[in-house]
């Protein structure tokens, strides 16, 4: 009887979701309006910024604590009761990280058309999730991705490999998110970096620790609402100001036309040098809409492919679809996820276009005395340089440019260097909006970083507590102990990644891209063949995971940290400049230089780091080597080993049919 009434109570909870999140959104808007009023009556910016951060963090923490749970299935898969629409929103927040929120528009600004590889790659992968993997894993009824590998490929060795791939992809990724919270809070609010990292850690722990997947789901929905409002408001206002239409995704076409015209003018006036097939050194102008000037076609399509397939292999994304009530809803939920993600990704190019237009019309080609003052705020943080010096104020800029022989006193294209993170963060100032909008953007960036961190952390801690502790060490552990272990592990993983983030590791942001290729090489062949090919055997899968994942990891580590060994022993050579097709670096010269000979493992400053490889393949695309090899090895080894048992084949038939009980029934 007691369970009956608690089910009734939670039914009422699910019925009221729409009203609750509606109220929440209304409350959030009211909060912004309140802060706008406070700003008008003269409350200082710094106070407004802190109010933004601490109020949103407090709301997430309250949701996290209020939805705490002591049930295993609630902790691991939110009781499999999250409706498709809401799971879509939660996945959106889970997916869109600090890099998407802050970095994406900046990459598009810098790379023009070539940056769209990231936009395509980070959206199209959901097609693969829905068609090939997600719904089948939902039918299987696992708590974690390694659960499936273990069952399908009989035993704990496959499970163990799955856990290694998972931890390897997710740990650097979660560290990058915590690092992101530190960056956003320190740049925006002037908080100390380490303090900001610590605040982020507390926020994450309060959300995830007590309620596991259940709490993370309901906070991620709240975080999605904050991040999407924060992302869209500034450009909607900017678009209305410039073109009179509040739909930036339609109006930025005109901005692109203007950018193209302006680029030609700058070249004609001698203020910029065009990148051509004869010469294309750094600092030359690459027209915004012209393709393949920053990536060769191979690397452009390689990034799209690796990010897409990586999406369908990343455990923290796949496990979101374990939480829906049915297989059908899992499919619907992938579609909703992509719709919610699409809202941000198809707006990012608008940010890039508006910012570029501002830079090309009001900064470059202007008399140095007339440049817009907004850039000095970012110059002070070291994020904008003019004539080789941080643009802290007008005097510094004038002095720095005067020191260059023959400088015309007008800003040239090559004089101006901008950190890509500035693009989104500075848009409110460019549009002349009040500080409250800047605070909103900071809160959105934090929401993006925290929600992704929550999901990743849960993926790691669940793999360690469920797969390693419960399945491999102590299969008889009672529920209470399993939950305690899960929480303790979550705490330690979170603290470890925050401690790592606080040291500001230099490669952390690049590693997020690597995570996709590693996930793709390690998981994708074994997962898809496990569902779509009954003949795939245990030995085949194990060999395939090791070979595919191994070659990808080898390529990454060698090209980044041991490029000399790569050149000497593995036949690697310099990558090529996409436009001129000439080598980026003179390998022989670097190898002879005493400064770099002793530089093992290679530092970030080493000219060869990330610039050597096979077939002119960027190391972020190492999945292009690993995944085909993984497929091939699984295919060949499977055919050489005896066919899987009749029971296993019946089990595969079972996960292909939505109807019926889940294959794996967890006692709870």
């Amino acid at each position: 009887m007691a369970t009956q009434s608690s089910t009734d109570a939670s039914d009422a909870f699910y019925k009221q979701l729409g009203r609750m999140y509606g109220l929440y959104t209304g409350g959030f808007v009211a909060f912004i309006v309140l802060l706008a009023i406070l700003e008008q009556v003269g409350v200082p910016n710094k106070v407004l910024g802190y109010l933004f951060v601490f109020f949103t963090l407090a709301v997430y923490a309250i949701i996290g604590v209020a939805t705490r749970t002591a049930q295993l299935s609630e902790y691991y898969v939110a009781g499999r009761r999250v409706p498709a629409f809401y799971n879509g929103m939660a996945t959106g927040a889970d997916w869109m990280s600090a890099a998407s929120f802050v970095g994406m528009a900046g990459s598009l600004f810098l790379l023009g058309y070539d940056g769209l590889a990231w936009v395509l790659g980070w959206t199209g992968g959901f097609v693969l999730v829905s068609i090939l993997v997600g719904p089948y894993l939902r039918k299987f009824g696992a708590y974690t991705v390694p659960d499936f590998l273990s069952f399908r490929y009989g035993g704990n060795f496959a499970r163990f490999l799955g856990v290694i791939v998972l931890v390897c992809c997710s740990f650097t990724y979660v560290t990058a998110q915590i690092y992101g919270t530190g960056l956003i809070a320190s740049r925006f609010l002037g908080m100390q970096f380490e303090l900001a990292v610590f605040a982020g850690l507390v926020g994450i722990l309060l959300c995830a620790m007590l309620g596991g997947m259940r709490a993370v789901t309901w906070t991620q929905i709240a975080q999605y609402i904050v991040l999407i409002v924060a992302y869209l408001v500034p450009i909607v206002i900017l678009s209305t100001q410039h073109y009179g239409i509040p739909i930036p995704e339609l109006t930025y076409g005109k901005a692109i036309l203007e950018i193209t015209a302006r680029e030609q003018q700058l070249v004609k006036d001698g203020l910029a040098v065009l990148c051509t097939q004869q010469a294309c050194p750094p600092g030359t102008l690459r027209p915004h809409i012209q393709p393949f000037m920053n990536y060769t076609p191979l690397n452009f399509f390689g990034i799209i492919f690796c990010m897409m397939v990586g999406t369908a292999s990343l455990p923290h994304i796949l496990m979101r679809y374990f939480t829906t009530p049915s297989v059908k809803e899992a499919r619907d939920s992938v579609a909703w996820s992509l719709l919610f993600i699409f809202l941000l990704y198809f707006s990012a190019p608008a940010y890039a276009a508006f910012s570029k237009l501002e830079v090309y019309t009001n900064i470059i080609g202007r008399d140095l005395n007339q440049i817009r003052p907004w850039l000095f705020n970012w110059g002070e943080l070291g994020l904008i340089q003019v004539c080789g010096k941080n643009a802290t104020n007008l005097e510094t800029v004038l002095a720095a440019c005067k020191a260059i022989a023959g400088h015309p006193g007008v800003m040239r294209f090559s004089d101006f260097v901008i950190n890509t993170d500035v693009i989104v963060l500075s848009t409110p100032e460019i549009a002349g909006l009040p500080y409250v909008i800047s605070g909103l953007v900071a809160a959105g960036g934090l929401a993006a970083a925290l929600s992704t961190a929550d999901g990743l952390l849960l993926a790691i801690a669940n793999a360690l507590s469920h797969d390693i502790y419960y399945k491999m060490i102590d299969p008889n552990a009672p529920t209470i102990r399993r939950l305690t272990v899960a929480r303790v592990l979550l705490f330690f993983v979170a603290v470890a990644s925050a401690a790592l983030a606080a040291t500001r590791p230099s490669d952390i942001l690049a590693m997020v891209g690597w995570a996709f290729s590693l996930a793709m090489a390690g998981n994708f062949p074994a997962l898809t063949l496990g569902i779509w090919w009954k003949r795939a055997t245990t030995q085949g899968a194990i060999a395939g995971i090791i070979a595919g994942w191994g070659i990808c990891l080898f390529y990454l580590v060698t090209t980044r940290y041991f490029p000399q060994a790569g050149v000497n022993y593995f036949g690697m050579s310099s990558l090529l400049n996409p436009e001129t097709r000439q080598p980026l670096i003179d390998v022989a010269k670097v190898m002879a230089d005493a400064r770099w000979v002793a530089d093992v493992p290679a530092s970030a400053a080493n000219p060869m780091a990330n610039r050597v490889g096979w077939f002119d393949l960027n190391n972020i695309n190492c999945g292009l080597l690993g995944m085909p090899l993984g497929f091939l090895v699984i295919y060949v080894v499977s055919l050489m080993t005896p066919e899987p048992s009749k029971e296993m084949q019946a089990f595969i038939d079972e996960i292909r049919k939505p109807r019926g009980r889940t294959v794996l029934e967890e006692k709870s």
Binding site: V127, L132, I256, M308, R659
Partner: protein
């Protein structure tokens, strides 16, 4: 129609599912890759009123819209297949 749990029904269901998978994967491949291989000639076409070069537009918005629509469509179609063969969950 075959019995819900007969091997024939099971096979027919899986054949249809596989066919749907290839159709959608083909569309995905076309809009994810093939279209963008022709970006340079497509950029010569400018979308009237909006002003986007078509090649740029496809990568920035066009393909994304196709992916979203495709996923809602796929969810419906696969659900229909499951229902036709008696494998849907709510039957």
């Amino acid at each position: 129609m075959a019995q819900p749990d007969s091997p024939a029904n099971q096979e027919a269901h899986w054949n249809k599912t596989t066919r749907l998978m290839w159709i959608h994967l083909g569309t995905w491949f076309f809009f994810g890759y093939v279209v963008h291989m022709f970006v340079i000639p497509l950029n010569k076409i400018v979308i009237p009123i909006l002003g986007f070069p078509l090649g740029f537009y496809m990568a920035a918005q066009g393909s994304l819209i196709v992916f979203v629509v495709m996923l809602f469509l796929f969810a419906r179609q696969q659900n229909q297949i499951d229902r036709d063969h008696g494998y849907a969950e709510d039957q």
